[in-house]
């Protein structure tokens, strides 16, 4: 996880990426680049690597090489982090989930989520230009910002985030061209809507599938307000 003190935008903005805001490390959002302060953190429902706990296995890129590595397939961590993760002191006493705990089989976890009862809403996510679709659980996120981060992480090879404001919500852009992706979704009536207009809970209820449209195609949708 980057802080602005360890990275400076040494190179001119390549491919439209804003290097003040992002650094490339092999870690999850919420982990620091300093091994001593690293905490083991992971999403229990992804196979992502937990934050590097030990120096030999930390692999982070400093700003000089950032430009070259912009295109690589790596998890891009965001600058803004929920504050409760920053507060947790160490792996054994933190409240965040440890990987694989409690010991519930992946098969059972997936089945429970798809029950739909306790709240799981898996919808397909299509990104224009990506070779295959993914599924994301809308109910697992508590707001548009969290959902954006999840989508970003899923399609890290072709997406980047730009313009992350104070609330952590930025825009998803193509990492190669800098062209903006417009997040849209199909609602219960079959209409394609712009993500972000309605309260998040309402969106989760009515969303059937998500498509990140290349701006050029999204001509008929109203422009996003920057406060989102």
């Amino acid at each position: 996880m980057s802080t602005s003190s360890t990275n400076s935008a040494a190179s001119p903005a390549v491919s439209g990426l804003d290097y003040d805001d992002t650094a490339l490390t092999l870690a999850l959002p919420g982990s620091s680049a300093d091994p001593a302060a690293d905490r083991k953190r992971a999403h229990a429902d992804h196979d992502k690597p937990p934050s590097p706990k030990y120096a030999p296995f930390t692999f982070s890129l400093k700003h000089e090489s950032s430009a070259r590595h912009a295109q690589l397939l790596m998890v891009i961590t965001l600058r803004t982090v929920p504050t409760d993760l920053d507060a947790a002191p160490c792996a054994t006493t933190c409240r965040a989930r440890a990987v694989g705990w409690p010991p519930v089989r992946a098969y059972r976890r997936n089945a429970l989520r798809e029950e739909g009862g306790a709240g799981c809403k898996l919808v397909k996510v299509a990104v224009d230009g990506a070779p295959y679709l993914r599924k994301v659980d809308l109910a697992a996120h508590d707001g548009y910002a969290a959902l954006l981060r999840a989508l970003h992480a899923m399609f890290a090879s072709c997406l980047a985030v730009r313009g992350a404001g104070a609330d952590g919500v930025g825009r998803l852009v193509d990492s190669a061209t800098g062209a903006e992706y417009v997040p849209t979704y199909e609602d219960k009536d079959g209409d394609w809507m712009l993500v972000g207009d309605v309260p998040f809970k309402m969106f989760v209820d009515s969303c059937k599938r998500i498509r990140l449209m290349k701006s050029s195609e999204a001509v008929n949708l109203s422009p996003r307000s920057s406060s989102q």
Binding site: Y54, P102, A106
Partner: protein
Amino acid sequence: MGRGGSRAAPAAAAPPWHALPDEVWEHAFSFLPAASDRGAAAGACRSWLRAERRSRRRLSVANCYAASPQDAVERFPAVRAAEVKGKPHFADFGLVPHAWGAAAAPWVAAAADGWPLLEELSFKRMVVTDECLEMIAASFRNFQVLRLVSCEGFSTAGLAAIAAGCRNLRELDLQENEIEDCSIHWLSLFPESFTSLVTLNFSCLEGDVNINVLERLVTRCRNLKTLKLNNSIPLDKLASLLRKAPQIVELGTGKFSADYHPDLFAKLEAAFAGCKSLRRLSGAWDSVPDYLPAFYCVCEGLTSLNLSYATIRGPELIKFISRCKNLQLLWVMDLIEDHGLAAVASSCNKLQELRVFPSDPFDPAGQVSLTERGLVDVSASCPMLESVLYFCRRMTNEALITIAKNRPNFTCFRLCIIEPHTPDYITHQPLDAGFSAIVESCKGLTRFSVSGLLTDRVFKSIGAHADRLEMLSIAFAGNSDLGLHYILSGCKSLKKLEIRDCPFGDKPLLANAAKLETMRSLWMSSCSLTLGACRQLARKMPRLSVEVMNDSERACPLDSLTDESPVDKLYVYRTIAGPRSDTPSCVQIV
């Protein structure tokens, strides 16, 4: 056994018993069903070794890397049924890197070569590809049983090959696998002349199946005893399937939910009434209590009920379970709550195995009122209870001591208190006393999982008392190296030890290196091990394979790392096959 006699030679000169022909011993050994007994016999002398291994019909390879497939086929040439297990148990919870290994292909290839008469194949936690399934279908003329448990890597295309190629298939048992759906109508590939199916379990399949094809298959397989459907079969089709197969003994209903219609209810009720032999029931039932009474007529006969994917709760659930007076096995979600378990305790006195799963494992608060009470009640009233898996959010030493006193006959006791380091919620003490009581009272305990706040003291008890313990799982427990030392220097029968997030370091591992060769495997993750200790262990114990895995799924050249480098994941297992050659970049054999 072994007296010479009618088979060997004319009565005048019976040969001494140790010179009897192998066939006599092979026949004698056929009366030893347990592999451990056969193994013991094989160790007695060379002729018994020869006779035993040449007549071994069932082979169980508990660790696919403990021996090479070629070794297995060469040593036991007459095998008809083989079971092979791959990844370590913690792979179920995502702790093992995805590409770790456990490919089934080398085993299938060796079997195709050396066991042409193979009839049964079972894989657990292994990577099985469509090519494997195609090879199975093509290589064994009399193939009858395919069982895949927690496997991945194959699709409905592989199933199609099995359906089309295995003329004598009796059992197709797919349990909790990840199967890719290629939209191939694999069920249709069972030929019209095919009638031998006894078990069909496709409950883990995500896609649709052709219901008409399924109905025709079920109709013509008159010996079908086990049918476990997936979620794509609607309730009205379930009714008609049951009418076609009233002889069924085990049924998995798939998704049992629909809006209430009296017609559909009547259909289901009538269909179940016809299933006089139904003994085992499972399914993913949503909250439709209105349909539960349709099952009432089968409740009396049920010995096994798996509701662990069923989100039903409340009085209807309790009423239903209370009618199942002959239950021996009950798997439920914690939605049953304490008062539900109290009802189980009073109604199901023949219960032998209870598993209670968390409906919302990641909710720290827990909306459901399932506590230590439920387990205490069941252990008090079910005299035959011997196996428990229980997820809950609070526990006391007193409850555990009571349970230990009530039920000294536990063979498997797995308690998972969901929040790590949870103490006794009344006294705020560690749960050492409670878990110690279990291990001291239950002399026949073979499997044990501990949780909650625990110090080294509990491991002292386990090491000292758990003489029959074969598998031990520890997480977020202990406070020093002593904890691990107690386990490894005690626990005479220990075979599998899996540890995560405990402050155990190098010293007890190295001090007890020899113990590891008496065990099948050891897993340690997020403990305090260093690479130097692993190197030392590997040097000291050449018949152990010492695998080190790093966190980040990336290659790390081990040679460049110092002895002080911490090791996040360690997997040690005994092997006669030497270091395996299929490790991915994130796994290194020290």
